[in-house]
């Protein structure tokens, strides 16, 4: 991983020199120092230039994103789990059209690697018309399903910018279908991993290298070929538009505009952070899944805020484990970015100027800073912990500031889709994620609003659920139901948004391989804020040997319309398995039902403070049950008319507060009893020592 740069690199194309490793590429998230050329271009911008061309660039980015989506075929690409972005000549993110803000961090790092390692390398070089490609986390990616195409933008012979298009691919040629194998134990189990390589020259993809990429993806070669071209198409459309601006206003203008986007974001971020209270804000969050097994993982986070900087210190996070539930430090930063860009700094340019205010302490040997040879294909799933921890500490930090309206409880944070493969009803090999439930999780509640029901995908806020009929037309499944879940959203003064539930039936084919990788069944990380409850448990159901087709052919009225009906009435005959939703590859037979429950958003504030009228609305729309209205919200109402009895409700709530005072114990008394408890042995299998989380010497990986 060392550069053998032989050619002199001009100042404006240099990146900060680092010893490249999976643990250190996070150093490239900060903006590069402003060189003399960029500074002179910044100073040459005239009033109005920035305002007009920032908007113009945003339109070009959206155009390229739409073309990217329309050119691709796989579900997560079509649903918008992607980014199209433009970078300064030395690799800083200037602006993006983001389905997911994850890649504001990660799509930038391979570009900087190419600048660092290949720009002056005579056997590679960077020329006009080059097309690069990458999907290797060691060089800045998240995990290898995330593939990116990126291109240098030349004009009049000068390298003035870069463009990139990145989207998740549902197949990588790993030991299991779906690109995120639960059974992976080392990087060698995870399929294709391309270091940044040049796959095209003179604006054309090289056929031999495209064939090589497609050859890795034997389960879904057609999808890979189409989506690789789609990425290049997205990056190339943006390349053309940047060249168009350069033709209109000159190369110096493009340099100045792109650098201005980085500078403005940093200045604005520093001003905002300086308004927040200095201090240390802490949380500990947990999930229940480690690869194929259930087990506790912990993220400990201390956010140290001082002046206009914030340090995220993850000391105390669980040790690296022998599964694919690990990642590298820049991946943690990427997941923090999903909150930072979407909430706390949503109104700033989507550039890495924002990232200048953050420092990162992520100890080696933890799940967040794993060994270079670790399996990391489920890096996004282990970072459900980051998606939970960051909103929690930021809410504590922002509440007493003008930024209060920018806080929000954790979004659904459960998604681990069902992945199915095999041949579809047309005999074509496919490997696809069921992107519908993952794009319909609930949003966390906010200080002034309930969360949005089925708002989207916590990893990619702008993602959209694919059309149900389109999925059934393309793939060998029928969707028995797909709807909002009742009693799922986090309860509170403001409730979280409800997530969705769906049941897939295997159809058209005799058998279909499938798996799922999810969590939040035994303990949850979809947390609430300031007394708000988390969302409800998300587990899995598999019903085998059903009589579903017979019942549907007869038009039976008791075919279930939701999961509670399915599980409690069991009108469909068959063998019911209620299980953890992390489910390694298995075969579903024709008529089998596979249930996926997605997560609701966390609640906000004390549930006893929720307006009874809002509780009634929740009840009427199916967001909560009668039981919850009475036992959690303590609202007394007429079961027939839903009319609230205000006096009786206040009596119930006063009684609930008295019950709290009776049950509650003073600190010392509580701690004396509490500290004697420990979770089950099953939960602590990979935790390390309890409660410190010190690695168990018997479970240290062989290369550590």
């Amino acid at each position: 991983m060392t550069s053998s740069a032989a050619l002199e690199i001009p100042e404006y194309l240099r990146v900060r020199p680092i010893e490249v490793s999976p643990a250190t590429v996070i150093g490239w998230t900060r903006p590069e120092p402003i060189g003399e050329l960029d500074r002179s271009c910044l100073e040459a911008l005239r009033p109005g230039d920035y305002e007009i061309y920032d908007e113009k660039l945003a339109n070009y980015l959206d155009e390229a994103r739409e073309i990217f989506i329309r050119s691709g075929v796989s579900g997560m690409l079509r649903s918008g789990d992607l980014i199209v972005a433009v970078y300064t000549a030395n690799g800083d993110l200037a602006s993006a059209s983001a389905g997911t803000y994850l890649h504001c961090v990660t799509a930038m790092l391979p570009i900087k690697f190419v600048l660092h390692a290949y720009l002056g390398e005579p056997t590679v070089l960077v020329r006009e018309g080059d097309i690069f490609y990458a999907n290797e986390a060691r060089y800045g990616g998240i995990h290898n399903p995330d593939q990116m195409a990126f291109m240098p933008v030349f004009h009049d012979g000068e390298l003035i910018a870069w463009t990139a298009a990145l989207a998740h691919q549902p197949e990588t040629g790993a030991v299991e279908p779906g690109g995120m194998p639960l059974s992976a134990r080392t990087r060698d189990d995870e399929g294709m991993k391309l270091t940044p390589i040049k796959i095209g020259e003179n604006y054309r993809i090289r056929r031999d290298l495209l064939d090589m990429v497609v050859n890795f993806i034997g389960r879904a070669p057609r999808m890979q070929a189409i989506d690789t071209r789609a990425r290049v198409t997205g990056a190339d459309r943006l390349r053309r538009r940047v060249q168009q601006i350069a033709a209109e206003r000159g190369n110096g203008f493009v340099r100045g505009l792109l650098r201005e986007l980085v500078v403005r974001a940093e200045q604005a971020a520093r001003r905002r952070v300086a308004q927040w209270n200095d201090g240390v804000y802490r949380t500990a969050v947990f999930c229940d899944t480690i690869g194929r097994e259930t087990g506790l993982l912990r993220a400990s986070l201390a956010a140290i805020k001082k002046g206009d900087t914030i340090t995220f210190d993850f000391t105390g996070t669980s040790p690296e484990n022998d599964s694919s539930y690990n990642c590298f430090p820049h991946v943690v930063a990427a997941h923090a970015a999903t909150f930072l860009y979407a909430y706390a700094f949503h109104d700033l340019p989507v550039s890495n100027g924002l990232l200048a205010v953050f420092d990162w302490v992520i100890p080696q040997g933890t799940i967040f800073n794993a060994s270079p040879n670790a399996a990391i294909s489920n890096a996004p799933l282990v970072n459900c912990l980051t998606l939970a921890a960051i909103p929690k500490v930021m809410a504590q930090m922002l509440y007493d500031s003008p930024s209060r309206e920018l806080i929000g409880a954790c979004n659904g944070n459960t998604t681990g889709p069902v992945v199915f493969s095999g041949r579809n009803q047309y005999g074509i090999p496919v490997a696809e994620v069921d992107a519908a439930p993952m794009n319909t999780e609930g949003q966390g509640a906010r200080s002034d609003l309930d969360g949005v029901d089925a708002y989207g995908f916590p990893w990619a806020h702008a993602g959209r659920a694919p059309d149900v009929e389109e999925t059934e037309t393309e793939y060998q499944v029928l969707r028995l139901y797909f709807r909002l879940r009742g009693d799922n959203a986090g309860f509170g003064m403001r409730r979280g948004g409800a997530g969705s539930e769906t049941a897939l039936a295997v159809r058209h084919v005799d058998a279909m391989p499938w798996n799922q990788r999810s969590r939040n069944a035994k303990i949850t990380c979809a947390l609430g804020l300031f007394g708000g409850y988390p969302s409800s448990s998300c587990f899995g159901i598999h019903v085998r040997g059903t009589n579903l087709w017979e019942k549907m052919a007869r038009g039976d009225p008791d075919v279930p319309a939701n999961t509670v009906e399915l599980a409690t009435r069991r009108a469909i005959a068959g063998e019911y398995r209620f299980e953890h939703p992390s489910r390694p590859r298995r075969i579903g037979m024709n008529g089998d039902l596979i249930v996926h429950l997605s997560g609701g958003g966390g609640g906000y504030g004390d549930a006893l403070l929720r307006d009874p009228g809002d509780v009634v609305r929740d009840l009427k729309c199916g967001a909560i049950s009668d039981w919850t209205a009475r036992n959690v919200y303590r609202v007394e109402l007429d079961p027939a008319t839903h009319e609230v009895d205000a006096v009786a409700t206040e009596r119930l709530r006063a009684q609930a507060r008295r019950e709290r005072l009776r049950r509650g114990r003073p600190w010392k008394e509580f701690i004396a009893e509490w500290s004697k408890l420990r979770p089950s042995d099953e939960a602590l299998g990979h935790f390390g020592s309890w409660p410190e989380g010190t690695p168990d010497p018997g479970k240290v990986r062989s290369w550590l």
């Binding site: 209270n277 200095d278 201090g279 804000y281 802490r282 949380t283 500990a284 969050v285 947990f286 229940d288 506790l296 500490v393 504590q396 509440y399 007493d400 200080s447 009693d487 069944a521 035994k522 303990i523 949850t524 609430g528 300031f530 007394g531 708000g532 988390p534 409800s536 448990s537 509670v564 599980a567 409690t568 209620f578 906000y604 504030g605 004390d606 006893l608 403070l609 039981w627 036992n631 507060r657 008295r658 709290r660 005072l661 049950r663 509650g664 114990r665 003073p666 600190w667 509580f670 509490w674 500290s675 004697k676 408890l677 420990r678 979770p679 089950s680 099953e682 939960a683 309890w690 409660p691």
Partner: protein, 111 residues
Amino acid sequence: MKRRITENLDIDTGSLTWHCHRCGGALGPASANYKQGCLIDARDPREVWRPLIEEEYNFSYDPEWMRLVEYYCPGCGTLIELDVLPPGHPIPHDIELDLAQLAKKPAAEEE
């Protein structure tokens, strides 16, 4: 002068003490964890999400893995904060402010 630090917590920047935002009750020194001034209950999650079936996975969480640790104002019973923790896990000291900096800040516009 009081500043509203969270939905349910104030700090008196003169006496440097935590207070319940709802009733004003004191919750101890602001240099300490406000949770030490609360009444605490570790609840079984099945009290909030009732099991609907007799299975290991039953629409609720597993109390062997998870408890809802609730912190109540001892004066008015407001739920000040809630932690989702495995049984016996140390209680996070979640807000530790730089009180000297806080005392210098101008008054907030509201409350």
